[in-house]
Amino acid sequence: MLLVAQGASRRFGSRVALHPTTFELCEGEAVALIGPNGAGKSTLLALLAGALEPSSGEVRLRDGTRVGWAPQRPAQYGRLSPRENLEFFARLEGVPRPERATERLLSDFELPQEDRPSDQLSVGNRQRLNVAIALLGEPRVLLLDEPAASLDPRQRRLLWQRAERLRDDGGGVVFATQTLDEVDRFSDRVACLLDGAVVFDGSLESYRESRPLAEVFA
């Protein structure tokens, strides 16, 4: 098991964003999180990423497992260039040779090399930078929150190729999406959330058979 959430829940004041949830991610697995807006997908991903503390329960990682997280809204500094953003997070992550890792990701994600602030980039380029930062330090677990929403078709293809490569190498991928095509093409397992609770968690085949939340995606 790479990652386990055991009865993890999250409240924001009196509002329950995620009821106690148990979720596991195994090696070589790609899990799609689906559900309507406000179902709790982003909260679950943030809990798994360690960006939020669970209000109850716990999230455990296998020792030495690195986690990469690309939140739905890009998490980067608008006044810094893509290179500066990547270098900053690389140093914080303790990536050896941060300059080299930065160069590789700038090239892989076809990001602008010049020192233009990130907030002057197109929405798609900002999302590419967001995912690139998540891949710093070569994580074994990749958590992606609607990562392809603003990417052009070529970049979407490149993104999923990277995710598949990570999964095929024994890593794990959890992604939230609103696109059933991505679920069909890239997931091995599907977890459906509704009103802050997991209402379905099963293989892609069983999901196809039962089609939970069909009315949402009709």
């Binding site: 924001f12 960006a51 998490a75 500094y77 006044r79 810094l80 914080l92 930062i133």
Partner: protein, 442 residues
Amino acid sequence: MRSVALVVAKDLRILRRSPLLLGVLVAYPILIALLVGLVAGYANAKPRVALVDEEGLPAVVVVGGERFDVAGTIERVDEDVTLVRLPGDEAGRQLRSGKIVASLTVPEGFLADLRGMVRSPRLVLRTTQGGISTRVVQQVEALVYALNRQLQRAYIDANVGYIRLIQRGGSGTFLGRRFDVLGLDGTARALEELPPDERVDEIREFVRVAGLALDQTDDALRATANPIELVRGADRGRTWVLSAQIQAYALALTITFLTLLLAAAALASERDENAIGRLGRGLVTLGELVVAKVVLAAALALALGLAIVLSFGLIIELGGVEGGEPWGRVPLVVAGLALAGASLGALGALLGALVREARAASLVALLVVLPIVFLGLVPREVVPVAGWVSNAFPFVHAVRLFASALYDASPWSVLAREAAWLAGLGAVFALLARLGARRLLV
């Protein structure tokens, strides 16, 4: 600490990318400091006072044989107040409209009373009810004091002249009438010519003792007129605008604005940029994030404060102003800048944590900083409550620390006390900011 250093370096880089914002943040508090200085300077400005001369004072008046330089005396008063000669009705009108703060009237008969030396001549002072009128009254009292001193000298000289006349005899005038006096010396000589007699001996003894006593009258009269004499030394030391107090206010005010706004905005912007979640995944703890903003504030306070101190120092050196050259005290001020910057930065971080949105945090910081500064400017002796409240914020302690570091001959006790205040307040605000920073994750 590595992550703190990385975050501080990142923030400095972002700040460098925002020269306009940085310029405004630096220029604004300096402008405020100058305005406060101007307002304080106005309190020291010469008030406009009317001189209503109903008597028609001549340039020189002779009293008791002494010449009085009336024009010169008025010129000396003009150093403290701006005297404008006005007719009585115009002075009354300007006093009511506030164009002048006081009118000083020399009534008819003033010179006659002055020369007569029987009745005290009167000057009539009328003032407005503004806050400055007390000062004007004090200045006019000082003028009357100075005039009285000159008159005392003349009166004493005149009186001493009469006493000499009593001692030695001769001719004199009083109220314009001439008279001849035998005098004690003449009386003694007349007594010598009389046949010896017990009664004559008693009178001779009285004349001798009276002569001895009257010999002491000159010094006794002068001492009685001026039991304590104030002697003014030469003016030395810094001009008002360069005074340590103004430097201390300028420094404290500038870094208070800068650090509060920057620390508040810098912490809140981590949430605005959505980076707080990424950082919070074990890369940078919330405590380290607060410390990073405190360090950022301290570093900027140090840089800007040092620039101000060096500028003041250069002006003092180039202007040849004596009294308290700042170079020897720069290390003390530097330490104070870092400590005050950190303490204020912690307060700014607390605001940023509570408000959670960079622009709103900047606005709130601005709203908070103004009352803090103005409370700190209110003298504790005048409004004790203002003193108690401002004690709970770093500004006033920064002012006292800088003033002591720049000026006090032996600053250590004040420095230790104010540094303890700043460190204590900084620790409390930083702790509260750390607790409040959890709200940034929501």
